[in-house]
């Protein structure tokens, strides 16, 4: 074991495994294990600024062909961990079945960040302001992680275990996301409120998936990011509104219950009061959109 820490980018060794299996074997052994490196749009900044120490070794996963596909089964879309935000935007499968994920990916950085940054990197980075989280949460899908010991699935809603914490062992890599398709007749919506539209760390953002027929809410799922240490599903509001007819009184109460039901963080980007109020407005807007 070495105690010397690399100090510049030039000191960081990096493996370029030819296959996923090879990558998992490198991760299995402490002597060859390295920091997974995908698009580098978080890591390169965090290493340079000292938020993270430069590691001795990285393991590049960006190029692994097993992690770069978007495929479908009957009920699901599978997105490889190294698919880029631009890849999500361009895929006919995500456009058709995961529209709020596509809209969210389109608001991440500029084109250059979108062609570099990946879904796996975004999820593993686990920032409460990570823009893909709400759209993943509302699918009730799973994160598939792998190691030489085999594959394991974790519900997306349980994968973020705390502020910048994820359910991943040191020898594991995220390999793909299994995301149930938006069912027929359902709709999704995405909203991001920040100081600037693109290029901004969001103040509050969220997604919903739902179905409203004849003014009655048949199903509703909503997730909001940037208000808590992790992105959160608003299960209480979802349950309360389901089965109700969307008149003004119900919309107003849904808004109020949303604001009252959350206990948002205050930070330099926004106050807790603002977040409560704006989250209520977002949820109300979502319900109106599903009805409209």
């Amino acid at each position: 074991m070495s105690t010397v820490t690399a100090k510049t980018f030039d000191d960081v060794a990096c493996a370029f495994p030819a296959t996923l299996q090879e990558a998992l074997e490198l991760m299995a052994d402490e002597k060859t294990r390295g920091r997974p490196l995908a698009g580098g749009t978080d890591l390169m900044v965090q290493w340079e600024s000292g938020v993270l120490e430069m590691p001795e070794r990285a393991v590049s996963v960006k190029h692994l062909s097993e992690l770069r596909n978007i495929e479908e089964t009957d009920g699901e879309v599978m997105i490889g961990a190294s698919v880029t935000h631009m890849g999500i935007r361009r895929s006919p499968l995500t456009q058709k079945y995961l529209p709020s994920l596509v809209d969210a990916a389109a608001t991440i950085g500029g084109f250059q960040i979108q062609t570099m940054g990946t879904i796996g990197g975004s999820v593993a980075n686990a920032s409460p302001a990570g823009d893909l989280a709400p759209s993943l949460m509302i699918t009730d899908g799973t994160v598939v992680v792998a190691s030489v010991r085999g594959e394991r699935e974790v519900p997306v809603t349980k994968f973020w275990t705390g502020y910048r914490k994820i359910d991943l062992e040191p020898d594991e890599l995220i390999v793909r996301f299994r995301l149930p398709k938006m069912p027929d007749g359902h709709r999704e919506a995405w909203r991001k409120l920040g100081p600037r539209q693109a290029q901004a760390i969001s103040k509050v953002m969220g997604s919903c998936r739902g179905h409203v027929a004849n003014g009655v809410v048949k199903s509703f799922r909503v997730a909001i990011g940037s208000i808590a240490p992790t992105c959160v599903r608003l299960y209480d509001v979802e349950k309360w509104v389901e089965g109700k007819k969307l008149d003004e009184a119900v919309l107003a109460e849904a808004e109020q219950r949303t604001s009252d039901g959350i206990n948002p963080i205050a930070d330099i980007r926004s106050t807790a009061e603002y977040r409560k109020w704006v989250t209520g407005r977002i949820v109300r807007g979502f319900l109106e959109q599903l009805a409209g």
């Binding site: 990096c14 370029f16 749009t41 390169m44 084109f111 250059q112 960040i113 062609t115 570099m116």
Partner: protein, 162 residues
């Protein structure tokens, strides 16, 4: 030894480099390969001054580990633009419309323009602005830049596609 060998096709020329794998591609271009046209602005992904094209996609060379640029990748930097009909057209349009003031953002800006038009020579101002949202210009307010790109798009040569 902490080095990897890569062979790239940069601006139509075969270039070899033996480099530490996580050295920024920006530094490899400027220092190892003496291509100084690509500029460093912020060094943290915010400004777009360091934009280059790798296999058709615009990327930020200040946050790209050089080892991740795969062997035989096609790379276009601002120096390569004058070798292509589309690049020459863009340069002329930027000059004609007076799109540059201090000029600092321009190498990255025009590379983004080239990447966008090579993919799809669309003239819609909304799309042009979106494709350049990752390129910050502190001087011009973007109006002239959008006009320059629109003018280049109108005349975009068919052979420059792709």
């Amino acid at each position: 030894m902490n080095k990897v060998k890569r062979t790239w096709n940069i601006n139509g020329e075969r270039r070899e480099a033996e480099i530490p794998p996580v050295r920024r591609f920006l530094d490899v271009l400027r220092e190892d390969l003496d291509l100084k046209g690509t500029k460093e602005g912020c060094g943290e992904g915010e400004c777009g001054a360091c934009t280059v094209i790798v296999d058709g996609e615009p990327v930020l060379s200040c946050m790209l580990p050089a080892g991740q640029v795969p062997d035989s990748a096609e790379v276009t930097t601002v120096e390569g633009l004058e070798k292509t009909p589309g690049g020459r057209l863009l340069q002329a349009a930027y000059a004609e419309k007076g799109a540059a003031q201090c000029g600092f953002c321009i190498p990255g800006m025009i590379v983004s323009s080239y990447a966008m038009l090579s993919r799809d020579p669309d003239m819609d101002p909304g799309r042009i602005r979106e494709a350049h949202a990752g390129n910050i210009c502190r001087c011009t307010g973007y109006e002239k830049i959008v006009e320059a790109i629109q003018s280049a798009a109108e005349q975009w040569p068919a052979e420059a596609k792709g």
